[in-house]
Amino acid sequence: MHCTSKTLLIGAFGPALRRANTLPPAFLIPSFSSPLSSTPFSTTTATLARKDGNPNRGVSALRRTGLSKRQRVTSPHVPKDGSPVILPKPVLDPQSRSTVRVDRTHGLYDFFNNDRVAMMTPTELAAHGRAWSVQELRRKDWEDLHRLWWVCIKEKNKVETFKKERQRVGSMYGDFEADARAKEVRATMRSIKFVLTERWYTWENARNVAMQDDEINLSTNPDQGERAYIPGNEQQLQLEDSVTESGEEGTYTPMSGEIPPPPPEASRNEGARV
């Protein structure tokens, strides 16, 4: 807020001056002879106030201030020659609005049936097959199972979309059929997880067996043509072991991953007696 001596003086002496019998004090008379100066009391100059670089300072749509003096509307609808602005008018009637062209390959159509209708009838919802069984899925590879998983997810989304649409319109039939359909989808997904879990345990067991097998070398790289399975390698290794054992008198090292050799006949008989 800026405060000038003029406004102060008018406020202080305005009512007093109206009275004819009172005059301003003698020391103030020279100031009335000349026009009043308007020097602000504030040390901040008026031109510098609120110069924060905000071009929208003071412009408000709520107070309907309009644009400031230095602002100009730049829009393709505004002609540059200064002629009046022709703004587009909103079409309030939904019937007279122009139709929107939707791409036939839009991805959101996957939330609907192949007919691309808003909702599936209860008859259509009930026309579904059974879930994939574990026996059938065991023959499929990972790519197929992964693809089938996402088919199931999309089917669930579809059923859920139709369910929400039925709830929006009002209570009607179709929930029972939709639940039965979703149940089959969930059974398929459960079977996929079952098969993958089973496959993982099979692989883990095979790996453990291969670690015990001397004919299989797990550290080879098959991509470079190295052979992981060398038949007959077991006999060679056993021969090598027997050679080393003969030198060390049957010492058994547990880290070799082998079954310890049977104890000699004498100690076995003693054990039987005890």
């Binding site: 139709t99 929107v100 939707v102 791409d103 839009h106 991805g107 959101l108 996957d110 939330f111 609907f112 691309r116 209708v117 808003a118 909702m119 009838t121 209860p122 008859t123 992964h146 998983w149 996402w150 997810i153 999309k154 669930k156 989304n157 859920e160 979309t161 369910k163 929400k164 649409e165 039925r166 929006r168 319109v169 009002g170 209570s171 009607m172 039939y173 179709g174 997904m189 996929i192 997880k193 993958l196």
Partner: protein, 183 residues
């Protein structure tokens, strides 16, 4: 594979690859929204980045922006799925989350079916009204229910009797008349 896919996406994808996520979302019809937007109901833990990634990778839909809204559920008494009422078990169900995306290509929902006869909507509505009436007739406020049909019929009957059009006889229209006289 993952690196090329990441570089081709219009946004930066995460490095964690999910192979078998079980996420269900529902596409909702919004008659008042413009066709450049699409509204979904998503799991409560879903984030805007999740939905953008989900729509791009599962449905090949490119989005410009995502808005999120969590709708608080109302306090209810008992489990609505159970057949018997559970009094004094007030609780607030989990809130639902909705997300509105701005689409790169507009999408208009398919038109509504002309009639819902296939869905038996009329029969369902009638059955609901009948069940509501029955529940009210057997409910705690059954004494206060005014049967306006019966009232009108009694008025007609009384008028006919007063005018002399019909002569009243005790228990004429009832089988076993006089049986309840001793009560």
């Amino acid at each position: 594979m993952a690196l090329t896919r990441a570089t081709l996406t219009p946004f930066r994808v995460g490095t964690k690859e999910l192979y078998l996520p079980d996420i269900t979302i529902a596409f909702l019809r919004t008659p008042t929204s413009p066709p450049s937007t699409a509204k979904f109901q998503v799991p409560p833990w879903f984030s805007k980045l999740d939905l953008r990634d989900y729509l791009y990778h599962v449905y090949a839909v490119r989005t410009l922006s995502v808005r999120s809204y969590v709708k608080q559920s109302r306090v209810i008494e008992g489990d609505p799925l159970l057949p018997r009422p559970q009094p004094n078990r007030w609780h607030r169900p989990r809130p639902t989350k909705f997300m509105t995306v701005e689409l790169e290509r507009p999408f208009v929902w398919p038109e509504e079916p002309e009639s819902y006869d296939e869905w038996n909507k009329t029969e369902m509505k009638e059955s609901e009204e009948t069940q509501k009436e029955l529940a009210e007739a057997n409910g705690p406020g059954k004494d206060a229910i005014v049967n306006k049909d019966r009232r009108g019929k009694m008025r007609e009957q009384a008028k006919a009797l007063l005018e002399g059009n019909v002569k009243w006889k005790a228990g004429e229209d009832r089988k076993g008349s006089g049986r309840l006289l001793g009560r």
